[in-house]
């Protein structure tokens, strides 16, 4: 038995070493430079700055993180790499809004009167429709009855696109075709979902740049019209942000929040080399939790956001 224990400990250390090595560079360098000290030297902070800025965290948020790290080191002193990683993780995670704790790998729809309505918004091409397809699939697998509203009636072939996702997931799509009034589609969808006793409604909307006033007004209208059926709808307005977006994500969050009171974020395309670091500052500044990440084009490629993994990936 003892023999087994020793073996597994050895093995574990090896694993740790392997992991450490893959996160080479920054962390190793940084811990060497700071171990046992109560200040972090300039060069290390420069490196930290580089890691964060090149992950799109942005200058302001990066300075915030650096300040936190400095204060923390002045207070606690460093002991080693694992310690440092923890500190970094904690300090960055502290910026990510956690009105809700996503401890589980599943997001559970809160109980509401009538169907739970999610309205999905974002700029052009970020992955709204795809995310909706993936979401519908997840909810369906949870045994929920889902209805999708095809309220992007503007972009060429948008209705066809969401209908294909409806077929893939076996979820009904309420549509009035292209060119229809999107608010009317949303209204119809919620009404028919309520009538049929559905659990979840997901509304797809046309991508729009957040500086177009008319289009943003249209979005407010879509949002408000649903209240005529269900006073609390939509229960969630999800802003989809492309993981490769830079600092403009702040402007997006601001404008979409003004128009629709965004209540959650989904970050897509994190299967590429982009890190999506801008959501740290966005989540911090607007107090909106990140709920999902998109990691591919397949129906399964949607994960519930996990702070720890996300922060680690910045240094990976």
């Amino acid at each position: 038995m003892a023999w087994l224990n020793i073996f597994s400990k050895d093995k574990k250390e090896k694993l740790d070493k392997g992991l450490e090595k893959s996160k080479e560079g920054f962390l190793a360098k940084m811990s060497r430079a700071v171990a046992g000290k109560d200040t972090v030297d300039e060069e290390v902070l420069d490196d930290l700055e580089e890691v964060l800025v090149t992950s799109d965290v942005g200058v302001e948020t990066t300075l915030k993180v650096i300040k936190r790290i400095e204060e923390r080191v002045a207070r606690d002193k460093y002991v080693g790499t694992s310690e440092l990683k923890r500190i970094l993780r904690e300090e960055i995670a502290a910026l990510l809004d956690d009105k809700e704790e996503n401890k589980s790998s599943k997001f559970t729809i809160p109980k509401v009167d009538g169907p739970y309505v999610i309205m999905v918004v974002g700029v052009n091409g970020v992955g709204k429709t795809t995310t909706i397809g993936k979401l519908a699939n997840q909810f369906k697998l949870q045994g929920l009855k889902v209805v999708i509203g095809a309220a992007d009636t503007f972009r060429a072939a948008a209705v066809d696109q969401i209908k294909i996702w409806g077929e893939r997931t076996g979820v009904p799509v309420i549509s009035q075709g292209m060119g229809a009034d999107p608010a009317s589609v949303a209204f119809d969808t919620v009404e028919s979902a309520r009538a049929s006793g559905a659990d979840v409604v997901i509304i797809d909307t046309a991508g729009r740049l957040h500086n177009k006033i008319n289009l943003m007004n249209e979005l407010s209208k879509i949002k408000n019209v649903m209240k005529k059926v269900l006073p609390n709808a939509p229960h969630d307005v999800m802003l989809v942000i492309d993981g490769s977006t830079g600092q403009n994500a702040f402007e997006q969050a601001k404008a979409f929040t003004e128009a629709t009171e965004v209540s959650s974020l989904a970050v897509t395309k994190l299967d590429g080399t982009a890190k999506g670091g801008v959501v740290i500052g966005v989540s911090d500044q607007f107090s909106i939790p990140v709920r999902y990440i998109g990691v591919g084009e397949g129906i399964e490629d949607l994960q519930v956001f996990n702070k720890k993994e996300f922060v680690d990936s910045l240094f990976g």
Partner: protein, 450 residues
């Protein structure tokens, strides 16, 4: 001309006043500000660093003349360097050959399909080409339908083959189709792909090697952050592309990715996308992009867009009328329609230095125009020709007929008189700007009307 960066630079340079030249010490803070501005604009970290070093070299020892403030001087050097890096000249598209072939490539959601359509429209209307669009995105749901819809909108044929799953074969078939149908330009739309997706990158390389396009264009979203360098480099390594289309510039991103891409792959940006409409494609001007990255307004671009939409014939007629003091509500309406054609006015005015912010709170939607149109169409032909006959009771009738308030009619009357006055004072092209100013309700527009 006034802008945020320059403002900051002025501040950080206050200590310098009275000194004769820029030195290592007084330049440090300024370089930090410039670097920060670049990073806020999403210029890549390393490139921003290199860039500020270059600017510093140039700036050191430069004489601060009394006529020009150090901040201005620094801005000038920065802007000049940036514009230089963006490329000196405007690069044309190669459309020689029969058919000429253009291949679109890029990440998911960057705007390839839309820009395939816009390019086809542009080359058809401005260069007299007969284009064919080829739908080689076999992956994204309804991507083929999307291209068909766009093709129909612009009156351009679209080749697709829903049975075929290999985009290389579809591309080849498309070119053969063009040849046998006398089309002299083929634009191949492809699926979006990530640079790390080995299989998909091999596929696009195979498409390129098979069809040997005149132009392979890398389509990239102007809102892209730091990752722009990785993606551009990877696509360039695989495709050795010929140029870049920078999309969604009608947004408010500063577009620093443009600089990063230019630096990393040294390929020209050939076009920019400025809206969802098929007409919203512009030629890329390096110096304007430099303005934008640094947070300066794009005055030249605005003036040109105004000119572009301005019908010369109409202009001459208008000039005569103004001279004879015969400008009436019908002319006013024509003018408004022309402004509408130019796209969202706020977008346009947002291009002016210092205006962007001020404009954020001003609403000038299509609604404003609709109301004005409604009021004018409630006027009798006589009232339109001779606005001076519009008295109180006529105003009431007009208000009622258009479903607007009397004070809105009054407001419009005032705007009309002011516009008329202003137009008399200015020459024609800037008359348009004057009119825009009226609707923006904005104080002076720098750089216009001169």
């Amino acid at each position: 001309m006034f802008n945020r960066l320059q403002e900051k630079l002025e501040k950080s340079f206050q200590t310098l006043k009275g000194q004769g030249s820029i030195t290592e010490i007084n330049v440090a803070q300024t370089m930090k500000e410039i670097r920060r501005a670049l990073l806020d604009a999403d210029v890549n970290y390393k490139i921003a660093k290199e860039f500020t070093n270059t600017v510093k070299e140039k700036a050191l020892g430069a004489n601060v003349l009394t006529a020009i403030s150090p901040g201005q001087l620094l801005t000038k050097i920065t802007h000049g360097e940036l514009a230089k890096l963006m490329g000196e000249t405007v690069e044309e598209l190669d459309t020689k050959g029969n058919p000429a072939i253009i291949l679109m490539a890029g990440l998911q959601g960057s705007g390839k399909t839309t820009h395939a359509g816009k390019l086809a429209h542009f080359l058809k209307t401005k260069k007299g080409k007969t284009p064919l669009l080829v739908a080689a995105d076999v992956y994204r749901p309804a991507a083929i339908d999307q291209l068909h819809v766009l093709g129909e909108q612009i009156g351009v044929a679209v080749y697709s083959n829903r049975e075929e799953k290999d985009p290389v074969i579809i591309a080849k078939e498309g070119i053969a189709f063009a040849k046998s149908n006398g089309m002299n330009l083929v634009i191949v739309d492809t699926a979006g792909r990530l640079a790390v997706d080995e299989k998909m990158m091999t596929e696009i390389a195979a498409i390129k090697n098979t069809i040997k396009p005149n132009e392979t264009l890398f389509v990239v979203d102007a809102m892209t952050g730091q990752d722009a360098v990785n993606t551009a480099k990877e696509f360039n390594d695989r495709l050795d592309f010929d140029g870049v289309i920078l999309t969604k510039l009608d947004g408010d991103s500063r577009g620093g990715a443009a600089l990063s891409i230019r630096q990393v792959v040294d390929k020209p940006i050939k076009f920019i996308g400025t809206g969802e409409k098929m007409e919203a494609l512009d030629v890329f001007y390096p110096s304007r992009m430099a303005d934008r990255i640094l947070g300066m307004g794009d005055v030249v671009s605005l003036v040109e867009r105004v000119q572009d939409q301005f019908d010369e014939e109409e202009a001459r007629k208008l000039q005569k009328k103004i001279a004879k003091n015969q400008f009436n509500f019908d002319d006013f309406l024509t003018q408004i329609k022309q402004i509408q054609k130019m796209g969202n006015v706020k977008d346009l005015m947002g291009m002016l230095p210092g205006m962007g912010k001020a404009l954020k709170d001003v609403e000038i939607g299509d609604d404003a125009f609709k109301h004005i149109e409604a009021i004018i169409s409630s006027m009798t032909p006589k009232e339109r020709l001779k606005p001076e006959i519009i008295d109180g009771s006529r105003k009431k009738r007009i208000a009622k007929g258009s479903g607007r308030e009397v004070n809105e009619v009054n407001q419009l009357m005032k705007q009309f008189t002011d516009t008329k006055k202003m137009m008399k004072m200015m020459n024609n092209k800037s008359a348009m700007a004057g009119l825009m100013k009226q609707f923006g309700g904005m104080p002076g527009m720098p750089g216009m009307g001169k």
